[in-house]
């Protein structure tokens, strides 16, 4: 009886001590570089499995007009501080040009009117923020795939990088927003450069004049204020080398989950 009571008390004491040790140890372990390097392998597994099940390039769900969110929360940059951008915004983006370059045979420079004159796609889709919230809106714009076909990809092309006008991370090149996707997502039918949102010209908080829509990934991939598109064979020479503004700050490059 006494032995049993003792062993029970011992177990409780040991269990509590172990639990406390585990919790504090957990926190230190959770940010240890070696541990993070190891668990980062999960991103590759997720990418591989999602690419397998999405190999038929199914569309993201498209909603009805009645499903559109009454308000769509802007996030990240609300107004870029770049004077050149603000000057273009004053002129209704008439002197804005989208540059398509990098590993292409015919570099392009397109005005907003030229983009609108291309075959456009309209889709009502859900925007999923990495923070957890969602909003639904209708987007209109030319398909990125069509633009890339027009520019003609070189054989080594693997990624499409979007250079943006906003400095979410503060002044200087290190604070510049940028994003990247691979050709699998670039040529998906729903991957468009949206210039119109809910039948209105894209507002500044939402990324005027154009933002990327890559519907099977999270919100931070939907680059706003796109100024230039660069086709490339690798990502390690751009920005912090991880393929995007948030990717350079620890987030996954593949944001399909």
């Amino acid at each position: 009886m006494t032995d049993a009571a003792l062993s029970r008390r011992g177990m409780i004491v040991a269990g509590t001590a172990l639990g406390g040790l585990l919790l504090s140890g957990c926190d230190r372990l959770s940010q240890a570089p070696q541990a993070l390097k190891f668990i980062d392998k999960a991103e590759g597994v997720t990418l591989g499995v999602q690419r397998l099940v999405l190999s038929g390039q199914p569309l993201a769900k498209e909603f009805k007009v009645s499903d559109i969110s009454p308000t769509f929360k802007p996030n990240g940059t609300f107004t870029p501080s770049d004077p050149a951008y603000l000057a273009m915004e004053q002129n209704g983006f008439t002197d804005w040009r989208l540059a398509v370059g990098g590993l292409v045979n015919r570099p392009l420079s397109l005005s907003l009117d030229q983009l609108k004159a291309l075959p456009n796609r309209t889709q009502i889709t859900r925007h999923d923020c990495v923070e957890g919230w969602s909003a639904i809106a209708q987007w209109t714009g030319p398909q990125l795939g069509g633009l890339l076909h027009a520019a003609g990809l070189q054989p080594h092309a693997r990624y499409v990088v979007f250079h943006c006008a906003d400095n979410l991370g503060g002044p200087g090149d290190g604070g510049k927003y940028y994003e990247s996707i691979d050709l699998f997502d670039a040529f998906h039918p729903q991957t468009i450069l949206a210039h119109t949102m809910n039948n209105q010209p894209l507002a500044v908080p939402h990324g005027a004049p154009i933002r990327l829509r890559v519907e099977r990934q999270l919100g931070y991939k939907q680059a706003k204020y796109v100024m230039a598109i660069e086709v490339t064979d690798r990502l390690n020479h751009i920005g912090g080398g991880h393929g995007g503004f948030w990717e350079d700050r620890g987030y996954e490059w593949y944001a399909g989950i």
Partner: protein, 285 residues
């Protein structure tokens, strides 16, 4: 067999614990291994999940939901008349002050307090990486358990209640026994009782729902399996159900640990390590 002290001439046993006991092999190696791997997974998944929750400490029903939409759950913060921060928790129609625990802790606006999140500091990126790494292990571990239990008969033999066990009178008796902390002896002690069986089957269902609602929050998975959105009523509903299931699993674990202590912590934990479980063969008198 233990060295039981049998009562002589109708006397009481000298030592109450020295009753006749028997040791049986109760838990197969697959059950024991997957159980402890699950303990590690659930710990990391819960703490990193609360980190992810803190990035937007509100829950909604339906396809969409953000700041301007009415939340079903919110772990929020308001300024009190004296300009201090006050944590306010809202769950459906219920609203209460929760400063120090939910909404506001250490004078900082955050859904769950730092001691409940992994990492402790605000770090959504790292929380997500841990969550999805552990989610893969949790899914693989769960599949090993489910497939092996279906093949080796663990479900049918040990977890599915018998017809007799499902009679209301039996269930009621079982509830009373639990309330009185009375534990079965003899043949009854060798198998799970009906509440135990229902609790274990229930938590298996909850963990399955965790995975499915988690997947429904993935825009990639939604393109592949749009039926999930239909089943759970949208991404935001799935996020809310994910949170409800997490709460119920925490409740299960708390009851489970309390029951382990009531039933005998050394024997219970020992049996989940070695597989050998000791039970009393009779009341002793």
């Amino acid at each position: 067999m233990s060295d039981a002290v049998m009562p002589i001439d109708g006397g009481v046993p000298e030592v109450a614990s020295a009753l006749p006991t028997q040791t049986i092999y109760r838990h197969a190696i697959v059950v024991r291994a997957t159980h402890w791997i699950n303990v590690i997974c659930l710990t990391f998944l819960l703490l990193s999940g609360l980190q992810i929750f803190n990035a937007h400490p509100m829950l909604y029903w339906g396809q969409y939901g953000a700041d301007a939409d009415p939340p079903f759950v919110s772990l929020g913060a308001v300024y009190a008349p004296d300009h201090s921060l006050r944590g306010v928790t809202k769950v459906g129609p219920i609203k209460f002050t929760s400063t120090g625990l939910f909404g506001v802790s250490h004078n900082e606006i955050r859904g769950y307090p730092s001691w409940l999140t992994l990492p402790a500091s605000r770090d959504l990126a790292t929380g997500r990486r841990w969550h999805f790494f552990m989610a893969w292990i949790f899914v693989l571990n769960g599949l090993i358990y489910l497939v092996s239990s279906a093949i080796n008969g663990h479900f049918r033999r040990d977890l599915v209640p018998t017809k007799a066990q499902l009679r209301p009178r039996h269930i009621w008796q079982n509830i009373i026994d639990h309330a009185r902390l009375k534990h079965p002896v003899g043949e009854d002690a060798k198998t799970y009782n009906v509440l135990q069986k229902l609790a274990y089957l229930g938590v298996i269902l909850l963990m399955t729902l965790m995975v499915l609602t988690g997947l429904t929050m993935s825009p990639g998975v939604d393109a592949f399996a749009p039926g999930l959105m239909w089943v759970f009523g949208g991404r935001q509903s799935a996020r809310t159900i994910h949170w409800i299931c997490a709460n119920l699993i925490v409740l299960f674990v708390l009851v489970h640990i309390i029951e382990v202590f009531i039933a005998g912590v050394a024997n219970e934990i020992g049996s989940m390590i070695t597989g050998r479980y000791t039970y009393r063969t009779g009341e002793g008198h």
